[in-house]
């Protein structure tokens, strides 16, 4: 082993320990991504299949829950994707394709969707999968008593308003909730027909239906004691839960009743739960696991230089983005400045030219090369390449120190500040222990060099940081987003709309909001894409945030793993959306 590698490993752990760890739960899942999302399917080579069909992977922690309605984090999803399939699913190139539903019809007003369930589809326990189980599952998802984190995906279903409007702290009587659930726009006229009625022609609803939350669930199962333990688990996907040793290991075996055309070749999937990325990396190198995603960024250079590892290494596009918030200083109603930014001179990032100047001072290529081991794609706007509505080459404010200076002069004039040196140090917030320090340093240094503007770099523990960020306490703050489903709506609505739940940059532009509202109910796909592109341009033109880099999944796969179907949405295991196609090949 080289000394460099040793240092890298020790350094990695030292950073962890200094910050007292905790990166796993905190960073945005690098849900995947993708510019050219093509299926990465390897044909089984001539060597043929291995006698032992056991795949060993690491999922980076104990899944917080395996209840599909309640799951929200990437670790749980990595397991759930093997255990369940919704009515419709994403294809490797991010199209919506049939899964449990063999077909569906959309009414002329685009408000009624009628799904036909495959004939003979069964759960792992042998019971038939019936439309009534979908009705139950969807009602349970939106039921305020469930308090499901992803209940919001049901917002477009008719009748969900009554449930969302209930006072969460003082719920009405059970009978009233049950009555409201009865009024939800889901129905099962017969066992193979599932009908959804929407309250708006929501054009992205099919995309949202590919999420894990809407899978069929048997009431009898999920309400039983210890339902999510291995002994009781009922799955509807290609695999079933054989063993769940909490905090240690999950073992999946093929679901004998799986209805899909592609039956698993694997006889077992062993999932370990290493919370420490350096350990998972070592486990891969020692041959204890067969795949690794993501490769720790401090190891990437070494991996690329290693003759063996470099051949097993790949970078796939990922549907995620790294960006930094500017505090736009607007109130959620869009009527004027927020309280904190009532005096523009005290809140320089509320000035558009100031934000433009900061953006023009950043060499994004160099940022990516230095702080992300040159992985990913430089970003000029929010929506990730591969999603309809993305504008890949749009960069209104490219790196240009002279233009930055000019923008800064304009901004200072508008703010009534004599020189950049008179600006108070900008409050620059980030969460510690997740590797953001070099990135924060890079940006702060660029602004100091270009304008002489000082920053207070405020590193906080994740929970503290999030609360400060939401409260608008920072001028600039770290941010990131991973796509839940590949639709532009998921990357803009709520993030950049006035008063949106994740609008931590206090941005508000009614013109942009109008475009998003229009796009949401625009059935024509081309027109819809155009609207999202327009919205994306407005956000970029306003310099609402500092968009830096669309993500990449850096992954290692042993040469004897075949049949991998990767997608830009994979987050913990390469090919996690299609475990059933994976095959173990004979080792050379």
């Amino acid at each position: 082993m080289t000394q460099k590698r040793l240092l890298a490993l020790v350094g990695a752990v030292a950073i962890f320990a200094a910050a007292c760890g905790g990166s796993t739960a905190t960073t945005a899942p690098t849900l995947a991504p993708g510019t050219t999302p093509g299926p990465e399917t390897q044909a089984p080579p001539d060597g043929g299949l291995a006698a032992e069909q056991i795949l060993r992977v690491d999922i980076a922690g104990e899944p917080p829950t395996l209840d599909p309605n309640k799951a929200q984090d990437s670790v749980s999803l990595t397991v759930l994707r093997a255990l369940h399939r919704p009515l419709v699913y994403v294809s490797p190139d991010l199209e919506v394709v049939p899964a449990l539903a063999e077909s569906w019809e959309v009414s002329d007003d685009a408000q009624t969707l009628t799904f036909t369930i495959r004939e003979g589809a069964m759960y792992s326990n042998g019971d038939p999968i019936v439309a009534g189980d979908l009705v139950y599952s969807w009602r349970r998802l939106v039921d305020p008593r469930t308090a499901a984190p992803y209940s919001y995906v049901m917002t477009e279903v008719a009748g969900s308003e009554a449930l969302f409007e209930m006072d969460p702290e003082a719920l009405p009587a059970d009978a009233e909730i049950d009555a409201a659930l009865e009024g939800l726009g889901v129905a099962a006229p017969d066992d193979r027909t599932f009908v959804v009625t929407l309250n708006t022609p929501a054009t992205y609803f099919l995309s949202a239906m590919t999420l894990w939350v809407g899978v069929p669930i048997q009431e009898e199962w999920i309400t039983s004691e210890g339902a999510t333990e291995a002994a009781n688990y009922v799955s509807s996907g290609p695999f079933q839960l054989d063993t769940w040793n909490h905090g240690s290991q999950i073992i999946l075996t093929p679901n004998p009743n799986w209805y899909g055309e592609v039956k698993p070749t694997l006889t077992e999937i062993h999932m370990s739960m290493s919370p420490e990325p350096a350990q998972a990396m070592a486990a891969y190198e020692a041959g204890e696991i067969d795949m690794l995603l993501p490769v720790p960024s401090e190891d990437i250079e070494r991996v690329k230089a290693d003759p063996v590892l470099s051949a097993e290494y790949a970078e796939e596009p990922a549907l995620s983005i790294t960006y930094y918030n500017y505090n736009n200083g607007l109130n959620p109603q869009g009527t004027g400045p927020s309280d904190r930014c009532a005096e523009p001179a005290d809140c320089p990032t509320s000035n558009k030219n100031f934000r433009i100047a900061l953006t023009q001072a950043i060499d994004k290529e160099s940022f990516k090369a230095v702080t992300f081991a040159n992985t990913g794609i430089v970003a000029g706007t929010m929506v990730m390449p591969g999603i309809p509505g993305a504008i890949e080459d749009y960069e209104p404010y490219p790196y240009d120190p002279e233009a930055a200076q000019a923008s800064m002069d304009l901004a200072l004039q508008e703010l009534g500040i004599a020189s950049a040196a008179d600006i108070r140090p900008l409050r620059f917030g980030f969460n510690t222990g997740s590797g953001h320090e070099p990135r924060v340093a890079f940006l702060a240094q660029a602004w100091l060099d270009t304008f002489g503007i000082e920053t207070d770099q405020i590193g906080s523990e994740f929970g503290v940081f999030l609360n400060q960020r939401t409260a608008g306490e920072y001028d600039i703050s770290r941010n990131g987003w991973g796509a839940d489903y590949p639709h532009a709506n998921n990357q803009i609505a709520g993030l950049f709309t006035c008063g949106g739940g994740n609008n931590d940059q206090q941005y508000c532009n009614p013109e942009m909001d109008a475009l998003i509202t229009e796009a949401a109910s625009e059935p024509d796909q081309d027109r819809q894409r155009e609207l999202y592109e327009q919205a994306g341009r407005i956000i970029a033109d306003d310099a609402a945030s500092l968009f830096l880099r669309w993500g990449a999944s850096s992954q290692l796969v042993k040469p004897y793993v075949g049949g991998l179907t990767t997608t830009p949405m994979d987050s913990q295991v390469p090919g996690e959306h299609f475990y059933e196609t994976i095959q173990m090949l004979e080792r050379e």
Binding site: M1, L6, L9, V10, V13, A14, A17, G21, G22, T24, A25, T26, T27, A28, P64, T65, D67, K70, P144, A147, A148, P149, S151, Y152, F164, P168, E169, L171, A227, T228, N245, H246, G247, S248, S272, M273, S274, P275, E276, A278, Q279, A280, A282, A283, E285, A286, E288, E461, F462, G463, V464, L466, N467, Q468, T470, G480, W481, D484, G501, N502
Partner: protein, 305 residues
Amino acid sequence: MISYVARRVLWIIPVLFAVSIITFTLMHSVPGGPWDREKKLPAAVQSRLNAQYGLDQPLYAQYINWASAFVTGDLGPSYRYTDRRVNDIVADGLPTTVHLGVMAFLLAILVGIPLGILAALGHNKWPDYLSTSVSIIGISTPSFVLGILLIVFFSVQLGWFPTGQWRGPEYWVLPTVALAGFPIAVIARYTRASMLEVTRKDYVRTAHSKGIKNESVVSRHMIRNALIPVVTILGPTLAFLVTGSFIIERIFNIPGVGQFYINSIYTRDYSLLMAMTMLYAFAVAFLNVVVDVLYAYIDPRIRYS
């Protein structure tokens, strides 16, 4: 003696009470809550979860709820591992954590004490230098660095041991060594200092002058007396090992309770955090009592009344 032990054990109760109040207050005064995510949960869902878990009540009421469940042995539901009760999480992980801690403790004693004795007997000669070097390295190398070095050399390079997990004896070796590194050094230093001190005692000189064989002087007069101060640090050491394995458990991917402790702090998993803190507070308090009692047993000059 019995009344002394009883009194000391009873004193643990107010200690735990104080620890629980302080921890509860501190953890709720830290900004953030169990539902914080980079992707925020809808406000209504957060309020609903708060209502379900009683987080909408005033702090004192929350404390009373927690304490009254705690005394009946109910540690509450986990806020993060939503399918599970804290009791199950602790019951699953604790045996592994104790197993690891006790093995490291035994290793520390079996290596640390002989190393210290060796150093003292070869004072200012090569055994002393060797032992002192080992001690200095052991004290100054954090366990996570040692752990990673062990993984890199013995797992990745040599392939002798697995890089992690806890499934059998071959899995136990590296974490135990990594965890024992620091206490080995501490125990060796204490033993060495203590041995050097008794070397100059009158009773040792007397023993030598009576013509007793050197081995007997060392084993019967020196070591026995020299170990008394060493015993005092064994209690805190055992507590350190049973409680101090957070990072080792994380680095070696060991399914103990330590890694849940760290996680519970980051995810504001209040019930799990309280349970873990109480557990560790009890372990430290109880082991201190055990040592004090042992102390009286080993050194007849000490009497409690």
